[in-house]
């Protein structure tokens, strides 16, 4: 327990530098973002002016925005669900003692150290129809003749696979830590009562893992909203707009059409969605 004697004085001098820096590099840009979102500012044109809620109106009535929102949702649900299932399976499998477990764990975590831009490039190389190991050998052998990244649906499947490759380790680490916190006596008691492996998993592991799973899902969902590099290097949002998530759409608006005002409005809408979603989800974590 913390004792009051040490708490009396507010150590402001220790906090001030970090708080000042954070305020200036985070709070100020946030305010500036709101300001930009009500300005008409296209970099290639010489004038900028206050335009009220025009940017928001344009964004929220644009079919491409809602298309991108839908694509983002599909991507989030797919990658979070697959990493959750795979991460759980890996955590359970690698929590049991066996020879070489340390090495296997280290290898499983390896992709976490690979820059997503490299992960994306690697998968683009692998999936290439002419010169890639998967695209040119394995996929045609199992009857997939299409070029993965040029086919609208398969391109989405491809970026999800690459993202799963890159990010499952993160879910695995969170769930493994949680698994190690479950007391072994619970399993011993269950075994004495004659529980099967499946029953142990459903009635002990799963309920006790649930809070960690929710935390993992929140972090992964935020990551998925932010995923830019991987998609950028694999498809740039294409073919057409098949893999154009909100991040890619926002980037396109702000940095290839140079419409900073509208890009800012998209960013504000994204932040609002993200805050709402995480608040709802973290409430559920806190209630437990």
């Amino acid at each position: 327990m913390r004792r009051l004697g040490l708490l009396l004085r507010f150590p402001g001098a220790f906090l001030a530098p970090a708080i000042l820096v954070l305020a200036s590099i985070v709070l100020f840009p946030t305010g500036y973002l709101l300001y930009l979102s009500v300005r008409h500012w296209v970099i290639t044109r010489p004038f900028q002016y206050f335009s009220g809620l025009d940017n928001y109106r344009l964004v929220l009535t644009s079919p491409s925005f809602w298309g991108a929102a839908q694509t983002t949702l599909v991507f989030i649900v797919a990658t979070v669900a697959v990493t959750l299932v795979l991460g759980t399976a890996l955590a359970v499998a690698l929590n049991r003692p066996f020879a070489g477990r340390g090495v296997v764990r280290a290898l499983v975590v390896l992709p976490l150290l690979v820059p997503p831009i490299v992960a994306g490039f690697t998968w683009r190389f692998l999936l290439n129809r002419e010169i890639g190991m998967l695209g040119s050998w394995i996929l045609p052998a199992v009857g997939v003749e299409a070029s993965m990244l040029a086919h609208p649906d398969l391109a989405m499947v491809s970026i999800v696979i690459a993202d799963v490759w890159s990010r499952t380790s993160f879910m695995f680490l969170i769930l493994l830590a949680a698994l190690q916190g479950i007391p072994g006596s619970l399993y011993e008691a269950a075994r004495i009562d004659g529980a099967s492996d499946a029953q142990e998993f459903v009635f002990i592991t799963l309920p006790l893992l649930l809070p960690a799973m929710l935390v993992g899902v929140i972090f992964r969902a935020i990551e998925a909203v932010n995923t830019f590099d991987l998609i950028f290097v694999m498809t740039q949002g294409g073919p057409g707009t098949a893999t154009q998530t909100l991040s890619i759409y926002g980037w396109r608006t702000a940095f290839t059409s140079f419409d900073i005002g509208r890009g800012a409005a998209i960013a504000v809408v994204m932040v609002v969605f993200a805050v709402l979603a995480t608040t709802v989800l973290s409430r559920r974590v806190l209630e437990r």
Binding site: V26, P29, T30, V114, T122, W165, L246, M270
Partner: protein
Amino acid sequence: MRLLRPRALLLGGFIGVYLAFVLLPLAWLALGAFKTRFESLRSPPTLIFTPTFEAFGKVVAGGFGGVFGNSVTIALANVALALVLGVPAAYALARMRPKPRKNLAFWVLSIRLAPAFGLVIPLYAFMRTVGLLDSLGAVIIAHLTINLPLAIWLMMSYFDDLPIDVEEAAIIDGANRLGVLRYVVLPVSGPMLIAVAMLVFVFSWNEFLFAFILTSSRAQTVPALIASLAGTMNFDWPLMSALSISALVPAFVVVLFAQRAITEGLTAGAIK
């Protein structure tokens, strides 16, 4: 005792398949880095070929040294800033009264959770206005928005768990807060500081969005370089593979080194 129980087989099989899924792409990348450009364009691709260092030669001779230098400078600057600013703040938060601490700590964490895209537009617009686009400083600041909250959060949880009695004794003996932090807290925090430094370094080294938007040539980082090469029509697969492999090395080395340091630090603590 039966050796091949179905459960063990199933588990072993699953782990084996997953390891193949993790390792084969990296192996393919490494293989690609040792091909000539002509060899890399052969369809279907070949597994057996004469390996060459042509692509790595291009990485060394192609004038990419500056880009790697930029990445190292930005990452090290972030490590230094995150520790110098973060350690006192994390310590103060860990020793504060519960209520203001909770609010401040939550604020710090929520920055970490905000969509990065919401920051990149105002940072770009600001850096453009003040003429700092394509400078190392711009990227260092942008990375710090993610790294500083992360560092504070991790170190705060660590300081929370340190025994407080020694610190009290030091204060009774007349030490001031800074003295306590420097001579009592920091000497036992080595492994944690290394772990935080490592995470900050790897984040900065791997980060793409900020670096890509805020730089164009002079301050370009390795991920931004790889992306800009991927955008060209004339794809040099071996060169990009070699660059990617080179981009992996620092993070791997840092983690390998830090892992040893962490293990050593923890064991030393346990023996004392």
